[in-house]
Symmetry: C3
Subunit: 662 residues, 3 copies
């Protein structure tokens, strides 16, 4: 049969004359003759890049007559594959330009192809495009294949529509590469392809300013079986690559060991996020321990991302660190973080980020923020040593590491945990981090016995205890002035991560001295105005009006000021001491040698003083309280009365006040 | 005559040997001979891209001898047009390289050109460049002409000097295209060409990452007549394209109908701004109604701009939404907006923006800001339902839509108006916006009868009244935490504009519950501390000290807190009620059932209490007052006294407090 | 001897067959024969771009046989240099591809090269690459050499690693050019090359969007002697180019003349910073004088940078102006400035910036900030007229210009100094700046006799005194609302620097009127609440509680409010007057006709009132004091007592309060 053919040539250069007519099928009453065709056999349209290796004797192809000779007709399967249909294999006559279906019946040694015309009812025959079977190239090998046509297989991790091409970032087990496909300026190419689809990209890797990019010739979604093979291969490769490094802990410590499986899980989630092209946002408490936790983690993730992407601009946008003043995730922060993430998704086709909460994020106060994130399927992990509300936050988290969940306490600081976390992500950091757990421990007043080992470890690395304390003070001081700025470059130097050691020391000595001078000035001002009572239980209670008698809006802030007054009092008079720094509508508490339960006290005050608007909490013996300015006297009087009813206990002390210093 | 000729070749490739000598004219005493030349005939310099179609028998051309033969000389008009001057048409001898003026005397069928040398006194003959008469291509058709030389005509809407080329954005009736002209790195090309000039650009459209760009071969300003034709054609096309869509209003409502001509005018101004390449800045009140007004308008303008520019990066920079906490345009905001706009003008050659004020901008308090903008010829339009001062702002505005100007009142909210405005700009949005007027009305407590229709419309679209109220509360809550951030992506989801419906519902239920919980907490705290008096007129007066007895710096803020206390009081005791929430130097007023005139009361207090620094205002029965902290008691006492003198009127109530809640 | 050779071809295209084998040397017992080779002679590998001019008879070269003929072998030194080794010059036989060392023995007139094979022990012969001796092109001439291979010499001022090439900015005496070297995507090319290294770059200048860029073929560090020649030539050229212009001062004034050498020094430092590719950050007091100082300086530096770089985007990033509210460099500002600079260094390879402090930066309060910057080797210069602590800041500064250091006083305002500074940097600005010193003087109430000359100068330029005062008020007003924004474009118009004169006048009249209205409103409010006493010394003492009786958070702020009350009082009652505006924890002082020494008074109060937290200072007769809110009464009482003990002196007055108005 002769097929009536349309004209035209598609953007992809396929043999579309053939395609477009979809083989206007012969009427059912025409008998097939000469060549037997099994109904259901696929008819292939041959793409122009196909070679003889891509076709096979016995298969059916769409073809177009390009020449008529005495002994038959010459046909093109594509611009590069042609052959003869001998007259013996024809049952009617054709003219140049006619379309027909042929079966390949012979490939001669000299390369000539021989076909037979077949008469098919196309409603019985699916048509498919036969593409050149490029060998699949690994993304990590593209640099060597620049300028050649290659094929890669993987899944799509990001789709960005530019004013020109659509850029698909395609990932295989070895890396991720941007693939630029142009339909028309600003028009989405391959609109059916979505994030997470498995695709096969044929194109030419070219060097661009930002690295290697594939100029796409074709992008297709493999069929079920092939796609599954890609997915499972990819999953295996990614699982393998996401696995944390098996590093020995810096010191032997049972308390920390119980947390290592959880940290490994967090490391896996984070490495996998990097491999998935998912941005990571580290929200951390802006104090010494919080920085000892977040800086190494950020560094480790950046190093890993640089190895995966080979593109510094990607790393920079992928990992961001966001300091929080409060020890929980404030609504104000989450609406902004979320909106920013949504903007990146819309404008740059980024996935929603992975949120990692450090030294932060364990309590009921975080729930509204987490719930909001949950609406957008944002994964969240927490590493923290503040007293947790696991029932409240647990269901909302992908991972939660907290010493209290393992029967340990605040003495295992977040910084100690995250140094191990960072090493699981990038073990090469080990040597740079040996002093960091000690800084974290001193900053958060960890009374762990392991502190001796950490101090020794730091000592071996060249940091004596005085210097470590100074680092903590300098970090605190810098964090205060940096406010919501991550201060990346400055704090890296302060914590001595990969910078100039001499400058680190000069800078620490400078800022620690400034911090000390400001603390001294604050103590000079405040100590004269403290009021001291002996409570019913014999504890010394020191009160200071921070609004009237402290320097405000400067370092040290109210929480730290209260802590310093407390420390001075304990040093002078010994335990038991309770110190209360108060402003118009808040009070900060520190205690040593008294068995307080501040969360319970707050609950009682809330109940006993309706309308006083009491809220707050914290650790058992250290915390903060908010109340209505108009009820300050009432609240403070009742608070002090309650504090005087507590038992004395010389084991208890004002450590881990990290969350309440500001 | 033989012309003495210089050497050289211009960047444009014109026959400049000829040009540069400007035909050193023969001495006046030399007689013309053989060929008669009418004085004043133009001598053309032929550009290299000219073809035979561009020259005409009888015209004069500058030429250069490129060969001498026995029977005459061969001459070049350009690198691509040559011909013979037969010896019979020569009256002196020439050598290769000599310049002369010739007349085209014959075009043979075989393509040969025959010229005659003419002897001209150039002071009598203007010279002009003859360029190839490219057919003018529409900007919207450039994509199809990539790689070919084309000509476009239009006006210049932006000129950006890069470190490389100068980029002129040229607009015709069909679109706008960047045209890159290179003089030298960072040097302004065609320095005489300014914004708004009509130009003809010859060049090659190429695809760039950001879309189509023309690489300029030449850019010229057509002469008067041609320019006028372009201008009037362009003006007609733009006027046509700027015209708003003629959409039927969502509901039948006379009050809104009176505003539709004005809204059409604003739609025209906005569409024209987009067509003119002028950025649009939407300053809106950051509350529920303000967002119901500004989000649809932003979306409609973005859709329109995308159709005009085909370049997402342009759209993104062109339309920006800026929330304002105050219900007027603060000096702080205008100096920043203005400076930002001036920076964009200087750095990116952008026009000054069009300012659209929504739910905002009708009062005398806006005048200083408007006057400042006026210095820079910044156009401003207002759509608002706050009580206007048309005498003050009218002369400064390009358009002012406000129900009070048409004898209507606040019940026609800005959101209701702007849904119609958005539909006039992009009618395809209609289906997405059917619930928005109801949200706007509920948020601003519109008592319009049309609310029934709007609620029904929303109901049909799947939003029941409870959910609409929740949307309003959630918008308010999110706006509070977003502060000066436009929160684009989050609030689109909250208002359910084009996002995921399920997520919208989850998110609304989450945030509305948070808002409700916070309101409850605030009421629990404050209600115990209200002081209640019966005023002389029998109204119940409720006072609350917000500084001492309300949670501060959290949601709900003072204005909303006062409103909630008021609502609760009315619900419990019925009208008449006046509620006053006060801080150290301000008071917020809400009333129901009392015929207040707060603006007049403020004026009286200002006069009666000199030195108390009283200012403020608002609606008749709802408003806010500022005063000196040191005079609070005096001001409040006198205020309450005056409130007690007002007549009761059960028709009046605390609606439309949008401007005073924060 | 025949050398056994490896295969391969390096990225640089050098004759590496030769290189890689390093001429596996013959065993020591093989005698050299026929050709005498002095031990130690260099064997050159010839780069492919070498021509005959680059080789010399008598030298030794690595070669490869490319053909064998009866009479000898043809050898390649490179892909473009070949010649014959006659059989008479061979002592063994070679095959195509063999490597050997040859000596050039003849260059015939027809261009043929004749070589002799030599047998060398390579351990005695260093090998070097012989590169083509390009003539060195000046960076300023690169535009004309686009597309050709050129060589430049200079030092590296910036190294930026992109995701693609590494970009070295190389400077010679004539300019700076980016040189892009590609190793692999995102991999640092030439990792040994650092900032400040002297380099020779061979490559091809190409035009990029941002200007000319060299695509690097090779980048090398010249040896000692050549490097020294480059360095000293460069240093001479830069020193020459950095030298300030020798401009005549705008007026004759001895007091200013004493500062001119210092200003010349600052001009040199700044011009040199531009030439060194070092960013400049101008931290200036955000008041009238501070803006009169910083705007002209910024403009002059931008003009100079544009001449040096020919790239507007460079200029924009290089010069930034940062307003400071406080008259000293706050810790909060320095940690952010520093972190920002470190980020630019890391991300964009920028040098650390040069900090120029204007109307700011002379006192002990600046020391912590300066010390912090010093850790990062950040150069700092100060031009200021606040009373300096030269002992404290001197050692930390690269230059310090201050009238007090020359026996002059505040009457020489910073704006007056910086107009001369700006003219030394760019004398073409002279005509635009003639009114600026008068504005500076009026803003800071300079009582210099030279003010008459400055006012005349401004008058000649078309600015009368009333308008100049209005400019000062408008600048103050705008600075208040701009807060930390530099307001570049707006304030340029306010100061009439290069903008539209008509708009300047309209804008000034608008903003000055707004400022005046706001001042009047503030005076109306406050004047009724002042308390007036006659002090022991007979001075009139006016006190105002700014917390309770002034409009807050609006213009005019507390300092300016106090000043206006003071001026009004002096105008009404005459001297002596002391005015104290106080808030909860601060007081602002103004005085006329009293010999105060505020710094000494503060010191005394600090000593006498321990725990009152008194700090502060300022000028002798104008200043501000901070204290604990709880000790306000005590401090103010004692302060007033002390003020009453001061001698009267009608010469002294409240000028130069610039630092204390906010």
């Amino acid at each position: 049969m002769r097929l009536s053919r349309g004209r035209g040539d598609s953007a992809e250069g396929l043999n579309t004359k053939f395609t477009k007519t979809r083989y206007m099928s012969t009427p059912p009453d025409v008998e097939e003759e000469g060549v037997s065709v099994s109904s259901g056999a696929v008819v292939y349209e041959v793409a122009p890049d196909c070679t003889r290796e891509d076709i096979e004797v016995g298969e059916l192809y769409g073809a177009e007559v390009n020449g008529v000779v005495d002994y038959g007709v010459f046909v093109d399967l594509s611009s590069s594959l042609s052959g003869l249909v001998h007259e013996s294999e024809l049952d009617e006559s054709y003219g140049v330009g006619d379309g027909l279906v042929v079966r390949l019946i012979e490939e001669r040694d000299n390369g000539d192809l021989g076909f037979a015309a077949v008469d098919v009812d196309l409603s019985d025959h699916p048509t498919e495009t036969r593409r050149h079977a490029y060998e699949t190239t690994d993304v990590s090998d593209l640099d060597a294949a620049r300028g050649e046509t290659v094929s890669i297989k993987g899944d799509v991790v990001r789709i960005e529509q530019t004013g020109g091409p659509t850029v698909f970032r395609v990932r295989d087990g070895s890396g991720i590469v941007p693939c630029a496909a142009f339909e028309a300026a600003g028009v989405r190419a391959y609109p059916d392809v979505e994030i997470d689809d498995v695709v096969r990209v044929v194109g030419v890797p070219e060097r661009r300013d930002e690295g290697i990019q594939i100029e796409v010739d074709s992008l297709s979604r493999p069929d079920g079986e092939e796609a599954e093979a890609v997915t499972s291969g990819l999953e295996a490769a990614l699982t393998d690559r996401a696995a944390p490094h098996d590093v020995d802990p810096l010191i032997d410590w049972d308390a920390l060991d119980t947390l290592r499986p959880g940290l490994g899980e967090v490391a896996t989630l984070l490495r996998r996020a990097v491999l998935d092209g998912r941005p990571i946002r580290i929200r951390h408490h802006a104090d010494g321990d919080g920085m000892c936790a977040s800086l190494p983690t950020q560094l480790a993730l950046e190093n890993f991302a640089e190895r995966v992407y080979d593109d510094p601009s990607v790393t920079q946008h992928m990992i961001k660190r966001l300091p929080s003043k409060a020890p929980f995730y404030e609504m104000e922060d989450v609406v902004r973080d979320l909106n920013y993430a949504l903007g990146n998704r819309d404008r740059h086709g980024q996935r929603m980020p992975f949120f990692l909460m450090l030294d932060n994020g364990s309590t009921e106060e975080d729930v509204p923020a987490y719930r909001t994130l949950a609406e957008y399927d944002v994964p969240i992990a927490v590493v923290d040593h503040h007293h947790p509300d696991p029932d409240a936050v647990g269901p909302l988290l992908d991972a939660h590491v907290n010493p209290y969940l393992e029967g340990e306490d605040y003495a295992v600081t977040t910084g100690m945990c995250c140094v191990e976390l960072a090493r699981m992500i990038d073990p090469d950091l080990t040597n740079d981090l040996r002093h960091v757990p000690a800084v974290a421990g001193l900053s958060d007043r960890s009374d762990a016995e392991a502190m001796t080992d950490y101090l020794n470890l730091a000592e071996e690395a060249g940091y004596d205890e005085g210097h470590l304390r100074d680092i903590g003070e300098a970090l605190d001081y810098a964090a205060f002035w940096l406010r919501y700025n991550d201060g990346r470059h400055l704090v890296d130097d302060l914590l001595d991560l990969g910078g100039d050691g001499d400058r680190h020391r000069e800078l620490i000595s400078l800022l620690a001295a400034r911090a000390e001078r400001d603390v001294k000035r604050q103590l000079d001002a405040t100590l004269r105005h403290t009021e001291t009572d002996e409570l019913a239980n014999g504890a010394r209670c020191v009160r200071i009006d921070l609004e009237d008698y402290a320097h405000r809006f400067t370092y040290p802030p109210p929480g730290k000021t209260t802590g310093k007054i407390h420390d001075r009092t304990v040093a002078e008079y010994g335990e038991p001491v309770i110190t209360i720094g108060y402003g118009p509508d808040f009070a900060v508490l520190r205690s040593d040698g008294v068995r307080l339960d501040i969360p319970r006290t707050v609950t009682e005050l809330t109940d006993e003083l309706p309308g006083a608007g009491v809220s707050g909490g914290g650790h058992l013996v250290v915390g903060s309280i908010k109340f209505m300015a108009g009820k300050r006297e009432t609240v403070l009087d009742r608070l002090i009365e309650k504090l005087g009813e507590a038992d004395l206990d010389e084991e208890l002390g004002s450590a881990a006040v990290a969350g309440f210093e500001d």
